[in-house]
């Protein structure tokens, strides 16, 4: 092929299927429904609750089940394009049980010198990294918990995925997008209070969220269409805020002193 100087810049990876997404929020808010709309979604179902959804799923109620499912996915002989782990909170419990069972202990702390913790973390890291490196989209679903964060000047409540810190740190390091599913209230044209389900995409002291791609508005409606529209329109140069929900009312606020919100 002849070598020539380029006439235009190369395009950034536009494909949603190349992203690893963490979706978390309160139960029943619509996380699984949202994930089910990703192209060619295959659920690795780690906790019951998908009965209301018609999806392709493999029941993975042990770590061995999950590994076997991952192996099938990795073999590539299937039409699926996005793998959804629902929920990673339970997946992590299976990982812990698996490592403890393998080493004949009841609890990670039962092994001397914190070795149990390290083994669990390594296994978790190994499998998630492998999953994320497969040529499919990856959506990880987690519940939300509120945690009191103590700082030098006071304390505040922060909402974060419901995983122990060690496991959560691994996940945060792997994902491109962190979507916090939340609700927000606003008044409609006739003055009625409307509660809408939204996704928050940018980090905030009172919750975890993030968008490495830089394409998403701060807040957008909790719907797959809005998500794809924002993702794609940013890629094609349109303002990502188009169609976005109002971002002006982030939940919670930092309280200084010792008062709790």
């Amino acid at each position: 092929m002849p070598v020539a100087l380029p006439a235009e810049r190369s395009k950034r990876a536009n494909d949603l299927a190349q992203q690893t997404v963490l979706v978390y929020g309160a139960p029943k808010i619509g996380k699984s429904t949202f994930a089910s709309q990703f192209p060619g979604a295959l659920f690795l179902e780690c906790e019951p609750g998908l009965n209301q959804l018609e999806v392709f799923k493999i029941a993975t109620y042990t770590w061995d089940d999950l590994l076997a499912a991952c192996k099938l996915v990795a073999a590539g002989d299937h039409p699926f394009k996005t793998i959804v782990v629902d929920t990673i909170d339970n997946a992590f419990k299976y990982c812990t049980d698996h490592v403890c069972g393998k080493h004949g202990i009841e609890y990670e702390g039962d092994m001397a010198h914190g070795k149990g913790w390290a083994l669990v973390k390594n296994e978790w890291h190994r499998v998630l990294t492998r999953l994320a490196s497969l040529p499919y989209g990856l959506v990880l679903i987690s519940h939300a918990v509120d945690k009191t964060v103590e700082t030098r000047t006071g304390e505040y409540t922060r909402t974060q995925p419901s995983l122990p810190d060690r496991a959560r740190n691994v996940v945060l390091g792997l994902v491109d997008i962190i979507l916090f599913c939340d609700t927000q209230t606003r008044k409609d044209a006739s003055g009625n209070v409307v509660v809408e389900r939204v996704m928050r995409t940018k980090p905030h002291p009172t919750y975890e969220a993030g968008d490495r791609t830089g394409r998403l508005p701060d807040v957008l409606p909790l719907s797959y269409e809005s998500f794809v529209q924002a993702f794609d329109s940013a890629a094609s140069g349109t303002s990502p805020a188009a169609g976005a929900a109002d971002a002006s009312t982030p939940p919670g606020k930092i309280l200084h002193g010792k008062a709790k919100p």
Partner: protein, 381 residues
């Protein structure tokens, strides 16, 4: 100076990732982009030591100004005791100074009634300072300075010329005069003291270095008095639950020929009882320890050499924008480095923005008047 300009040389663009973060959730105030008081950059021992241990960690902490969102409890207790001792030595003529300190401690833990951890820390701090006051009602030294902040030139050991880029800044707990000579007074809280602990005091480079700079500023320090306060491990007795009591009584009764037991249920220890037990512990001679260490000229010269070398390495790293990861430091002190998740993630901004917040470094110097300049060190780096 606008964000985006380095403190180290106004003409060099800032290398901080944080400077790009105009949407920072906590509001980006990159104080590293603010000029210092003297026109040179203030270098503290912590910054120097951080760079020596891991250049990447230095970048995270001092250039990008990232700090974990949560407060480390151990540091909080140490700071509390330091503050108490500051009041103690500042007010040597005040007969009520212990009450002032105890009131301050009460105010520091307003939620102690509902928070067992806060309550335990509050009880321990009260007992420790009360025990200290009883142990040292009078000192054999004269207090010359308390919590002294200083700035001094870092010199090229070969030519004696000051660095064009840096000045050393630091704070010492106290300077005291004993038998006509000046010593640094350095407070430490420790879980236990043994021969290793005392040997380790020799390796306290920070305090040796500060002595050197204070000498340069005209205070002929000859040594250091380490003032060690021990943290007791005794805990408040929780008492027995009804079930525990019945189980214990059944065991005792089974051993008794009569098949009965006169055992009484152990009730929880009251706060007053626990304070009394703590006071008894802090009345023991080993609860407090003073260790005097002299500084040799050779050691001070060696340290000066080291500081100069590190500043040169730093300038090189900054010029080339290379902040190496020293992975052999990731688990020093038997615990993972606070930045481990960020480094492990290959510097994923999601980790940075969610686990860390932007906080100016050198908090140890914040808000304190520098006696040398009469100015306030609010944004020193």
């Amino acid at each position: 100076m606008s964000p985006g300009v380095s403190p180290f040389s106004p003409s060099i663009p800032c290398t901080s990732d944080a400077c790009d973060r105009i949407d920072s959730p906590v509001g980006h105030k990159h104080s590293a982009c603010t000029p210092d008081l003297t026109g040179k950059s203030l270098l503290t021992f912590s910054a120097l030591n951080t760079f020596r241990n891991c250049p990447r960690k230095y970048k995270h902490r001092y250039i990008d100004q990232l700090q974990g969102r949560e407060r480390a409890d151990t540091l909080a207790f140490g700071s509390l005791i330091h503050a108490a001792l500051e009041t103690w030595y500042r007010a040597t003529d005040d007969a009520d100074r212990l009450w002032t300190i105890l009131d301050d401690l009460d105010r520091a833990y307003p939620n102690r009634a509902g928070d067992p951890h806060a309550k335990r820390t509050w009880q321990l701090a009260r007992a420790m300072v009360s025990g200290y006051a009883a142990r040292y009602p009078q000192e054999d030294f004269e207090v010359v300075e308390v919590e002294k902040v200083f700035q001094a030139e870092i010199r090229n050991p070969d030519t004696g010329r000051p660095s064009q880029t840096f000045v050393m800044a630091g704070k010492v707990d106290g300077i005291v005069r004993l038998d006509g000579e000046l010593y640094l007074l350095e407070h430490k809280t420790a879980g236990s003291i043994d021969a290793n602990y005392l040997d380790k005091l020799w390796t306290d480079t920070q305090i040796a270095l500060y002595s050197h700079y204070l000498r340069e500023l005209g205070s002929p320090i000859v040594g250091v008095i380490y003032n060690v306060l021990l943290k007791t491990r005794i805990q408040q007795h929780a008492g027995e639950s009804q079930e525990e009591y019945e189980a214990r009584r059944a065991v005792l009764a089974a051993k008794n020929k009569s098949g009965r037991s006169t055992a009484k249920r152990q009730l929880p220890e009251t706060d007053d009882e626990f304070q009394a037990r703590l006071a008894e512990w802090y009345a023991k001679p080993e609860a407090f320890h003073r260790e005097r260490i002299y500084l040799s000229e050779d050691r001070l010269a060696m340290l000066q050499d080291e500081v100069w070398e590190i500043t040169q390495q730093y300038l090189d790293a900054r010029r080339r924008g290379k902040w190496l990861l020293n992975t052999s430091n990731c688990f020093s002190f038997q615990r993972p480095c606070a930045y481990l998740p960020y480094c492990q993630s290959g510097f994923n901004p999601n980790v940075r923005d969610n686990l860390f917040e932007i906080r100016p470094p050198h908090e140890e110097l914040e808000g304190l008047d520098d006696a040398a300049t009469g100015e306030t060190l609010e944004n020193p780096f």
